[in-house]
Structure formats: C-alpha cells, structure tokens
C-alpha cells in the first residue's frame, strides 16, 4: 500500500483534513488518522471573547488596580501594596458577614433543591394542567427582585402584613422581623425559597420530561416502587440540570443583595448583613475604591472556588 494523503473538498472546516495511508482495496485501514489542519472555528468564538473582555475582563483588571491603591482621583493616588487585602481579610465584620452568607447559601441549597425536585416530580406530565402548572410555578420568577422584597416586607409585617399578622394572632407565635434577628433571617430565607424554588422546579421538570417513556414502562414491568423509580431512573438523569441549578442557586444566593436590602436593610443589627450588602456600603456608600476592590477580589475568589468544586464534583463523579 502506498503512503498518500486524501483531500476532502468542501469539508466544513475546509482544506485537507485526512492524512495517512489510504486503503487501496476498499478495506478499512486503521492507520488512517483524522487531523484538523486549520483553526478557523476560533473566529466564531471571537465575538464572545470580545464581549467578555469588555464586560468582565477589563472591569476585573480595573478592580485589581483599585485594590492596590488609595485613590483620591485618577491623578491623585498612592500605591499601598497589599494593605487593603490585609485590612479586609482581618476585618471581623467582614468575616462575620462571610460566615453568614455561606450559612445562608447552604440553607438555600439544602431547602430549594429538594423542594424544586419534589415540585417537578409532582407536576403533571401531560394534559391541559401542564400549562397551568408551569405558569403558576413560574410566576415568582417574573417579579423583579426589588418588588419581591417589597411584597415580603409588607407581607411579613406583624401589624398590616397577612403573613406576619397570621403568625402573631392565629398561630400565637411572637414574630417581628424588624426587632428579632432570627425572625429576620427566617423571613429572608423563606422569601428566597418562594422566589427561586420555581427555577429549580422548572429546570428539574425539563430534565424529567426528557426521560423517554420506555424507562418508566420497564420500571413498571419490574414492579418498581415510586421511590425506586425516582432514585434509580429520574434522579440519575437529572444530574445535568441539577448541576446547573446548584451552581445558579449558589452563586445567586452568595451574591444576594436586593431582597434583604429592601426587607431588612441588613438588620436588625447585622443579622442579615450579607457580604454584598457590606460591599455596597464600602464601594457605593463610602466610595472607598481600594478596600472595595480588595473585598470584591476576595469575594470573587470564594465564588470561583465553590463553583469549581461543585462543577467538578457533579460533572466528574460519574467518570
């Protein structure tokens, strides 16, 4: 057999893509290898690279520049090295807010993911009720964040809010989120569950709908219980969508700002002062760009690590 190259004209990537020894007698030859000869596909990625550079990379570089300087104006600034990082990393208020935010994110994930999956399993699979259920479940997602905060600020009030009034006067439990830190925490947590469980439910529902019917028919023939069907058929096939749901809910809850800001303003005391609320105070309230830059970068580092760990564990555990 003679060594020669085969040119495939009109291939999507163009040019010569197959090299090696071509079979002469029509039999398959294991020595034939496919090797792309150009990188034209990279051009298609260029728009994304440019937009990410303008919206994320350049602003991030600017924040890094802020974090090592004491800036009074663009012309009047002093290089301070890592001093802002030192003060931010050792600030007890920021450390407390970090623990508080992590705790909040953990509670959000522990409650919203199972609830969302349960809701998705309970939703009808076919018939007219599918549309009705989807619209009702999606409703909280359509409400702007500050409006969600306002709704819950009024709803949870002990004097004029239906929820707060019911807890106090019907259930007989002393509940006041403006005075009691536990009540404030519970209000913010339930508000987040109300607002974002639908996202998990919709993602899980999409995942469940993609499971072919023969899986369920086979389970039925084998006499599998509802729990076994869920555990061995539905749950494993939800891995992809749950990865996305967990990542989205972690990042969103770890950066939560608008709703607690509207409902509690971070109070009472510091009970619901999450990292983002504290950061906005430093960056926008006091306009301390240096400490705010250092704070943002440490915040960004934590989000990077946790997201990467979640992503790796959830996508590679099956390999």
């Amino acid at each position: 057999m003679t060594e020669q190259s085969v040119t495939v004209a009109g291939s999507p990537v163009g040019g010569e893509i197959v090299t090696g020894a071509a079979p002469q007698d029509g039999t398959p030859d294991s020595r034939v290898s496919v090797k792309p000869k150009n990188n034209r596909a990279w051009l298609l990625v260029l728009p994304v690279v440019v937009s990410v550079a303008f919206t994320a990379v350049i602003p991030l570089m600017t924040v890094v520049n802020f974090s090592v300087q004491d800036i009074f104006s663009p012309d009047d600034r002093i290089f301070v090295g890592l001093e802002w990082f030192r003060s931010v990393a050792r600030d007890p208020e920021i450390r407390a807010a970090f623990v508080r935010t992590l705790l909040f994110s953990a509670q959000v994930l522990l409650l919203e993911i199972p609830l969302g999956v349960a809701l998705a399993v309970a939703m009808p699979r076919r018939g007219v009720w599918v549309s009705v259920a989807l619209v009702i479940v999606a409703l909280p997602l359509l409400i702007p964040w500050n409006v969600v905060g306002t709704i819950w600020q009024i709803f949870a009030r002990a004097d004029i809010g239906l929820g707060g009034w019911t807890i106090n006067n019907v259930l007989g439990i002393d509940f006041n989120y403006t005075l009691d830190s536990t009540d404030a925490w519970i209000t913010v947590l339930i508000m987040d569950i109300w607002h974002w469980t639908p996202l998990v439910a919709l993602l899980a529902y999409a995942g469940l709908r993609s499971i072919p019917d023969p899986y369920f028919q086979a389970a039925q023939i084998d006499g599998a219980s509802a729990w076994s069907t869920f555990r061995h058929i539905q749950l494993p096939r939800l891995r992809g969508v749950l990865t996305i749901a967990i990542l989205l809910r972690f990042m969103d809850s770890f950066m939560i700002y608008t709703e607690p800001f509207v409902v509690t303003g971070g109070g009472p005391g510091n009970a619901t002062s999450f990292l983002s609320i504290l950061l906005s105070k430093v960056a926008v309230g006091q306009f301390d760009l240096g400490p705010a830059g250092a704070f943002s970068l440490l915040y960004f580092l934590v989000v990077q690590i946790v997201s990467y760990v979640f992503f790796t564990v959830l996508t590679r555990s099956g390999r």
């Binding site: 350049i58 570089m61 600017t62 890094v64 520049n65 802020f66 090592v68 300087q69 800036i71 663009p74 600034r77 290089f79 890592l82 990082f85 030192r86 990393a89 050792r90 440490l298 580092l301 990077q304 690590i305 990467y308 790796t312 590679r316 390999r319």
Partner: protein, 90 residues
C-alpha cells in the same frame, strides 16, 4: 486608559498571565494536552491543573495575609511551590 489607574506591579502581573496563557495555547497546539489522574484524584489535563494551581496560589496568598504578618515574599514562594506541585503531580 487613565481611568483604569494602572500601576507597574499590576501591569506586570497581567502581562505575566497573558504570556502564560499564550504559552499554554502554543504548547497545546504543538503537543495536545492529555488528561490523566494525579493526587487530586480527578481527571485533569495541563490547562485544568494550571487553573487549579493558580486558584490554589491565590488561596495561599489570601490565607497568609489573613493570619500572619510574615513576609509576603515567603507567601509568594509557597504559592508558586503549590502551583508547581499541582501542575506536575496534580
């Protein structure tokens, strides 16, 4: 570019990162990366290990500055060591 308030040290860091990424891209072009398992117990190629190494280095630096007043040059040495160890054996 004045609004980006550049300083020499941050510019050097970003130039270093850009050169590192370009170097990895060129290396990857001539010698495509191969995924394998190291002490991290997950399948990684050299790009994954570089990312994990850089993040780990940032954690070392952040942790160092949060707990001790010892020289940051020492922290940088530890961070580089961590990155190299992860890059080779991770």
């Amino acid at each position: 570019m004045q609004w980006m308030v550049w300083t020499l040290p941050t510019a050097l860091v970003f130039v270093g990162l850009a050169l590192l990424l370009c170097g990895m891209a060129i290396w990857g072009h001539f010698s495509p990366p191969v995924a394998r398992r190291g002490f991290l117990r997950i399948e990684t190629d050299r790009g994954d290990r570089l990312y994990i190494g850089l993040i780990s280095a940032a954690v070392v630096l952040a942790g160092w500055i949060a707990v001790t007043d010892l020289s940051m040059w020492l922290a940088l040495a530890c961070a580089l060591l961590v990155t190299i160890v992860i890059g080779i054996w991770g």
